[in-house]
Amino acid sequence: MKTIKLFILLILLTGFYSCEKTTDPPLNDILSITVSNLYAPQSGGQGQPITGEFTKFEFATGQITTSETDWDIAFRGTSIIVNGGTSLGTIDEPNRTGQAAAYIENGTFVSVNEVDPTLLITDSDSGYAIATGSDNGWYNYSGGPSYLITPIPGKVLVFRTNDNFYAKMEILSYYENAPSDPDSSVHASRFYTFNYIYQPNGILTF
């Protein structure tokens, strides 16, 4: 994960707020991060049961983690799970220990700037918060002849983290090094590239 780039935005508003309301504690900085090539392998599929460890991820650090409890979301193939609710019961699926939840909102990454907590749902034994399958959740599967997995444009994934903070995410690519002209027979798949913004102050706006 050395390819992770970290950009920290300084919030100038903090200064203004502190002038007017001196009693409020200063806000933490919002994180705006691009994660490249997060690898989410799986075994099975094509009619066989899907197996393999999920790749767990934590928004606050921008890193993958092997912790059993301190993770927000996790990836396996095209499936994305959250650390909240209950397990769907697939093989090798981790137990949920936190408060994480999610929903998908239509919009551009910039236009989605507020969390609607009423829309947040957790994983359950009947399905994931981020629905699986082509055109149900975040991706479209083209079928033959190109067999491409493409993130659907205009789908912004909104998350509550394991410890009750919020993040929004736009998936950019499912192929290694996010090629601008992906070819499923050339580029390796299950490599996520995504942008996300993490709001570490527990408030609902980004």
Partner: protein
């Protein structure tokens, strides 16, 4: 709305131009008008013989002489050259017709007035129909379910075959062309006194062709097909005619899926048509008809490494249709027809939950009146009852007003519907290699519980209870408003505006997720789409030697929900697949897939009477269109990849050597246009030569 405004502006513009022209040339008489343009008789539009030039509907007729001079072999060849019609191939290789921007499944195809069956995935393959013994092809545009019932949403195409003529005659044809294509045909005709018979035999074989780089697979695999048809007429009395026709068609084609999977694909089809016509008196005429047809197709793939059968599929459809029709002529200005009949249909097909039987009795009436010399009004309606879906009432009204000898206006408003087909109701198919499932609407309530028991369902997206009601037929309201204008006896313009609004379009959606990560699909009524546009054609025949015709169609074909989504800013795209999304505007919506905004044709015919040569050059144009959504937002927008516009030029030279012998040479697709990625039915340049012997 802007579009509509534009149409009306254009319409009124042309209207006024017409009027201003007509004011200058009011002294042109009707007599001269009819000299250069043959007035064809057409039965398809009203089920009574009517002059095509006096009908209130937009109609086109393809004559036998046009078929002969272009040396067209199959129905798709000739329809593709007509204004506003394009042939579109489906994934199974079938080539169907797109009329007024509506898919092939919404145009009814008839042979001598009887419906043809065998639409495997909705498309009726036009390549099945040889043009060898065709008298004319009638094309009626606009919803016509008021006479023909299901599937006549966009319009009707009726292939009229030759009837026996007095005496003994016959002809032999042989045509050899590129891709080892050989077409041999023979026809015999005999009629004496009361008895007449005509027979036609045709064989077409082709070596196929390949547009891909694959060494194993061909774009079109080699095939051979045979057509045999015969028609008997017998005049039982002065007032009673008997007519019987039969046709048999069979085709064998190689079926290759990969290097190791090879097999055959076969089609067999027959139809028989018995008709008794009795004229009671000069007012009342009755037709009794019985039509039966069967279409059988089967295909298999064998694994040639071990000889084991890999897959097999079959399709066996039967249609029986008795009908009684009366024509009552009150006066020459008022004709009333009525009819009733029954359609009995069965289908036995692989991947079906049951062998369905459809019974659909129907009744129709139509009144054709001329309140005065210049006005014609047609009102009609048909009621189709059905055993498996909601009954349908299809009304239609049309008018034609002759403003003067040069200018007429006409309009029609009609209802059209298409019954859900067997596949949309009873399909139960699971893809063996990928694992997705497709269920017909009526198959859902039984198939889903079985899949659940087997533990194949991860979660249900659409509850099974939603499939308790009947699936509704797709229906449309079609409006046509047009004008015919004879500038003089040699030059004629036709103009038509159309709009088809379709409700309850049947589409597929995901109804459940499977545990293997795939989905279960079923059919449902959802979309409302509309197609609108204008059609313009010009015919110029300055002399008996020379003829020029041109046609143009402007088409907008939209999904209403898509238009709303674009308006509400709910549709997004990316510059490339890995860049951030941005919002699209309404102007970015291109419309439905496989629709070109502009299509046009230009045809020149030249006949030299001295040297017995007739020749022609024909050009067809299709503007860019989209085949798939490349950027994943579900719609065709300006950031998707399009199929480029193209031009096809065909040319033929025919020479009559003497009374009995004709020869021809020609080139189809002179520019050798191909688009190997997107267009599988255009094989590149075809050079042919033809010999015809008449006796």
């Amino acid at each position: 709305m802007i579009l509509n405004k534009n149409y009306f502006c254009i319409y009124f513009l042309i209207f006024f131009v017409n009027i201003s022209f007509s004011q200058e040339k009011v002294n042109i008489t009707l007599d001269t008008v009819s000299t250069n343009f043959l007035d064809q008789i057409l039965v398809t539009a009203t089920r009574t013989p009517r002059k095509s030039s006096a009908l209130p509907f937009p109609v086109q007729i393809i004559t036998e002489s046009e078929i002969k001079s272009t040396n067209s072999l199959r129905l798709n060849d000739i329809l593709n050259e007509q204004t506003g019609l394009i042939t579109v191939s489906d994934f199974g290789g079938g080539e169907g017709i797109q009329m007024q921007g509506l898919d092939s499944q919404y145009t009814l195809i008839l042979i001598d007035g009887a419906p043809v069956i065998g639409r495997l995935s909705g498309t009726l393959d036009l390549k099945r129909f040889s043009l060898g013994n065709i008298k004319q092809i009638d094309i009626v545009k606009g919803a016509s379910s008021s006479l023909y019932g299901s599937a006549a949403l966009a319009g009707v195409i009726n292939i009229i075959t030759n009837t026996p003529k007095d005496g003994f005659s016959g002809d032999l044809n042989y045509r050899a062309a590129t891709h080892k294509t050989n077409d041999i045909g023979a026809s015999l005709n005999y009629k004496k006194n009361k008895f007449g018979i005509s027979t036609y035999i045709n064989s077409l074989s082709s070596g196929g062709y390949n547009l891909t780089e694959s060494e194993v697979l061909n774009t079109v695999e080699p095939f051979t097909n045979y057509t045999f048809s015969s028609k008997l007429t017998y005049d039982l009395s002065v007032n009673t005619d008997l007519y019987f026709s039969a046709k048999y068609y069979s085709q064998k084609q190689d079926y290759v899926a990969s290097e190791i999977l090879e097999g055959k694909s076969n089609i067999r089809e027959w139809n028989t048509h018995l008709q008794l016509k009795h004229i009671y008196n000069n007012k009342l005429k009755i037709h009794f008809e019985f039509y039966a047809t069967r279409y059988k197709a089967n295909e298999f793939l064998d694994d040639n490494t071990n000889g084991i059968r890999f897959s097999e599929g079959f399709y066996d459809q039967l249609l029986l249709k008795p009908e009684i029709r009366t024509t009552y002529t009150f006066s020459s200005n008022s004709v009333f027809i009525s009819g009733m009949g029954l359609k009995h249909e069965t289908l036995d097909r692989s991947y079906f939950t049951l062998n369905p039987i459809f019974n659909s009795p129907y009744i129709f009436v139509q009144h054709d009146v001329k309140p005065n010399d210049n006005l014609n009004i047609i009102i009609g309606a048909r009621f189709d009852s059905h055993s498996k879906y909601k009954s349908q009432l299809s009304p239609k009204i049309a008018f034609r007003h002759k403003l003067n000898n040069q200018l007429s206006v006409k309009g029609s408003l009609g209802y059209g519907f298409k019954a859900p087909d067997f596949r949309q109701l009873y399909f139960d198919f699971t893809n063996a290699t990928i694992g997705y499932t497709v269920l017909g609407y009526n198959a859902v309530s039984t198939a889903i519980p079985i899949l659940q028991e087997q533990g194949q369902i991860a979660n249900i997206i659409v509850p099974v209870s939603e499939f308790e009601k009947n699936l509704n037929p797709e229906s449309s309201i079609g409006i046509n408003l047009g004008s015919d204008y004879y500038f003089n006896s040699k030059l004629k313009f036709e103009f038509n505006l159309f709009k088809n609004s379709i409700k309850n379009l049947i589409d597929t959606r995901v109804i459940a997720n499977k545990t293997n990560g795939q989905n279960v699909f079923s059919y449902f009524n959802i979309n409302e789409v509309y197609t609108q546009g204008l059609e313009f054609s010009m015919n110029w025949k300055p002399s008996n030697n020379f003829k020029l015709s041109t046609g143009y169609q402007l088409l907008y074909a939209f999904d209403k929900e898509a238009v709303n989504s674009f308006e509400n800013g709910e549709v997004f795209a990316r510059e490339n697949p890995s860049s951030p999304s941005f919002e699209l505007n309404k102007s970015d919506y291109f419309g439905l897939f496989n629709r070109s905004r502009h299509t046009a044709n230009l045809k020149l015919y030249y006949k030299s009477i001295n040297s017995n040569i007739d020749s022609n050059i024909r050009l067809t144009y299709r503007s860019k269109y989209g085949l798939l959504d490349g950027n994943g937002n579900g719609y065709l927008d300006s950031f998707d990849t399009f199929v480029n516009s193209y031009i096809i030029i065909d040319s033929a030279i025919n020479k009559k050597l003497n009374k009995n012998y004709n020869i021809a040479i020609g080139v189809d697709n002179l520019l050798n246009f191909t688009d190997t990625q997107n267009i599988s039915n255009i094989s590149g340049r075809i050079i042919y030569t033809k010999l015809n012997i008449q006796f």
